[in-house]
C-alpha cells in the first residue's frame, strides 16, 4: 500500500552564487521513507553540502512520521551548521509544518524558484 518514494539529487546555484544541494522527493513520505529522507541526507558530505533544499513538489502523501524524518534531518543539519530550506509544500502542509514549529528551523518557500532566489 505504500507508494514507493524516490529521491533525486541536483546541484543548483542560488541567487547569492552559492551552491545549493536540492533533494527532490516523490511518492509517499512516511515511516517507510527513512532511507530516502534521512539516508540520502546522511550520505551527503557535510562540508561540501552546506545549503540543502528539500523539495516536496512531487510528494503525493505525507504524514506525521514523514514530518518526523524531516525534523531528524533538521536536527543533524543544525549540529553541522548546514542551512536547510524547504520548498514545494501544498498550502495544507505549509500550514502543518508551521503548526508543528518547523519554520523556526527551516524557511519554507512555495517552490524551487522562490527558494533559489532567496538562497
Amino acid at each position: 500500500m505504500q507508494t514507493a518514494n524516490k529521491v533525486s539529487q541536483q546541484q543548483l546555484t542560488g541567487a547569492s552564487g552559492q551552491q545549493i544541494t536540492c533533494l527532490r522527493f516523490t511518492g509517499d513520505i512516511s515511516s517507510a521513507s527513512r532511507d530516502a529522507v534521512v539516508g540520502t541526507y546522511q550520505a551527503l558530505d557535510k562540508a561540501s553540502h552546506q545549503r540543502i533544499l528539500l523539495d516536496f513538489k512531487g510528494v503525493e502523501y505525507l504524514n506525521s512520521s514523514g514530518i518526523a524524518l524531516v525534523i531528524q534531518v533538521l536536527m543533524e543539519a543544525s549540529k553541522s551548521a548546514q542551512t536547510i530550506a524547504i520548498s514545494g509544500l501544498t498550502p495544507h502542509f505549509t500550514k502543518v509544518f508551521t503548526m508543528v514549529g518547523i519554520t523556526k528551523y527551516a524557511t519554507l518557500y512555495p517552490d524551487e524558484t522562490a527558494a533559489l532566489a532567496a538562497l
Binding site: 500500500m1 512516511s30 515511516s31 502523501y61 506525521s64 533538521l74 495544507h92 508543528v100 523556526k104 528551523y105
Partner: protein, 149 residues
C-alpha cells in the same frame, strides 16, 4: 448522486501501514460529495490518516489480522468519523509538540499525530475501551465551515 444527511459508510482496514490511505480517500470522497472546500478536505485527510495510524500502531500493535474500523457518518453540515481499535485507548488532550525539545533530542521527533488531529478538526475525543470486548475509539467531527474562521 443525492447526498443525504444520515448516510453512513464503514471501512475495515488491516493494521498495516499504508492502508490508512483507503480511509483517507473514502473520507475525502464523502466530504467532496457534501460540498466541503478543498482546504477542509485536506484537514480531514490528514486527521483521518493520523487517527488510523494511531489505531494500527498503538491500538492494534500492528497486528495486521486485527482490523481498524472506520465509520463515517454524514450529518447536516458536518462529517463524523469514528476510528476504532482493540487497544486500551489514548490519553487526551495531546501534548503540543515542542520543536526546540525535538531538535535537542529531549523529545522524540515522532508523536505529533494527536496534536495534528486536534488542530485540524472541530471536535476530537478519545474514548477508552477494554480491548477486544469493548473497542477504544477516536471520534472526529469536521464541519463544512471551520468554527474559528
Amino acid at each position: 448522486m443525492t447526498v443525504t444527511s444520515g448516510s453512513k459508510v464503514e471501512v475495515r482496514l488491516p493494521s498495516r501501514l499504508g492502508f490508512e490511505k483507503v480511509a483517507m480517500s473514502t473520507a475525502a470522497g464523502m466530504a467532496k460529495l457534501m460540498g466541503f472546500t478543498e482546504d477542509r478536505i485536506e484537514d480531514l485527510k490528514t486527521a483521518v490518516a493520523e487517527a488510523c495510524i494511531n489505531a494500527m500502531e498503538h491500538g492494534n500493535q500492528m497486528n495486521a489480522s486485527v482490523p481498524v474500523s472506520v465509520v463515517l457518518s454524514m450529518k447536516p453540515n458536518e462529517l463524523e468519523v469514528k476510528v476504532m481499535d482493540n487497544g486500551t485507548g489514548m490519553e487526551s488532550p495531546a501534548t503540543p509538540p515542542d520543536i526546540d525539545r525535538k531538535m535537542s533530542g529531549e523529545e522524540e521527533a515522532r508523536g505529533m499525530g494527536m496534536f495534528l488531529i486536534q488542530n485540524l478538526v472541530d471536535e476530537a475525543e478519545w474514548v477508552s475501551g477494554t480491548g477486544t470486548d469493548e473497542q477504544s475509539f477516536v471520534r472526529l467531527v469536521i464541519r463544512m465551515n471551520k468554527e474559528s474562521e
